[in-house]
Symmetry: C2
Subunit: 195 residues, 2 copies
DNA sequence: ACGCCGTGTTCGTCAAGTCGAACGAGGAGA
DNA sequence: TCTCCTCGTTCGACTTGACGAACACGGCGT
């Protein structure tokens, strides 16, 4: 396998949460009071495969995970959801560009909008000094930050990242977080996303 | 691999949409005007792996798909979404039971509620005769039907399934669909889900 | 004490996913 | 035309996921 090398486009690689998947499967299974063998039978898998999967070892195929999702009666995405969204950073110039219809423009998709979500736009400017502290917003809130000028350190408590012009980061807004400008005339676009 | 045997709990097995995944990856990639090799490089995959994946052959691992989702900047679930939700049937007695806290009750989870969705409950009764035609509702609507008595044929145009007492089916409500009672005194619970 | 289920784990084997390299097809430029 | 580059595909070799069987553990009835 060997895919320890990060994808060059993204810091905080957000590796496949195999551990989280394992826990999710076991949690959903025990919630239904199903034995490992019984779930394996219903999903058409072998006990050994399911055992390894739940122990966190291995890297299941889509087919395998899908069979489990069907047998458990949960949507597929439920098994691969990460309970706490990690910080995701896209460095300037490393975003996947979006097609621009052969027009003299370039566009980059930083974050696909989840269906049913509302996004408000803000422009923030700051000067070096004390950090701007923001309290936790309502659960499900996600903040997107795209630096336009200067230099920032931003993110949730203890997980701040440093961003330069063009850098992008998104992080959960339902935990305490801060913004700190490191250079004079720092500015950034802030997108608040509510679900 | 060989998992052609259906999971015993569900008709319309809703097999892993490998074809849909393949198309989704290719669509997202071409939208960004990325070459196959470039995306493979960013995702840390080999060109051959990505080529096979996009051609519909194979059954990628979670790690592989995850790397692609990160490199494309889309949420993981986006790649495994089925554009048109198929009909899903759970036969009576084959649902995964939900824990009942050692009480003398049994509960079965037929469909986990998507976050942010609203669900209205209806009781429908019918006698054998003409089909009850329902027009398409607003997009995103999903209908859940649990038969309590008699016998029904229900579902979207051309994809109707026959259901007996205790049987459950869910299908998209944003396409024309019908309900037809086959026995006297037929009844069913209908759950309309709006996102 | 036994045997008989049930649980979940570990083992060896086979099939399949992944990789790197080589391949043919198509353009751009000299 | 020839060359060079990039596109995406196909090939063999390696790695690894999935399977089936055997395993240890625990509860229950005889």
């Amino acid at each position: 396998m060997e895919r320890t090398d990060e994808a060059p486009t993204v810091d905080a690689p957000q590796g496949p949460p195999l551990r989280a998947i394992a826990d999710a499967v076991r949690r959903e299974r025990t919630r239904r009071e199903l034995s490992l063998g019984e779930l394996a039978r219903r999903a058409g898998l072998s006990k050994s495969t399911l055992s390894q999967l739940e122990s966190g070892a291995g890297n299941p195929s889509v087919e395998t995970l899908w069979a489990l999702a069907v047998a458990l009666g949960v949507p597929f995405a439920r098994l691969v959801e990460t309970p706490a969204q990690p910080v995701r950073v896209v460095r300037f110039g490393h975003a996947a560009p979006l097609t621009s219809e052969s027009a003299p423009f370039t566009s980059a998709l930083l974050s696909a909008c989840p269906p049913g979500a509302r996004r408000d736009l803000h422009l923030v400017t700051g000067e070096p000094g004390a950090a701007r502290e923001a309290h936790a917003h309502i659960p499900g809130t996600v903040e997107h930050m795209l630096v336009t000028a200067g230099r920032w350190v931003a993110g949730p408590e203890g997980e701040q990242v440093e961003l330069g012009p063009g850098d992008y980061a998104c992080f959960p807004g339902d935990r305490p977080h801060t913004y700190t400008a490191l250079a004079a005339g720092s500015a950034a676009m802030l997108v608040m996303e509510y679900t």
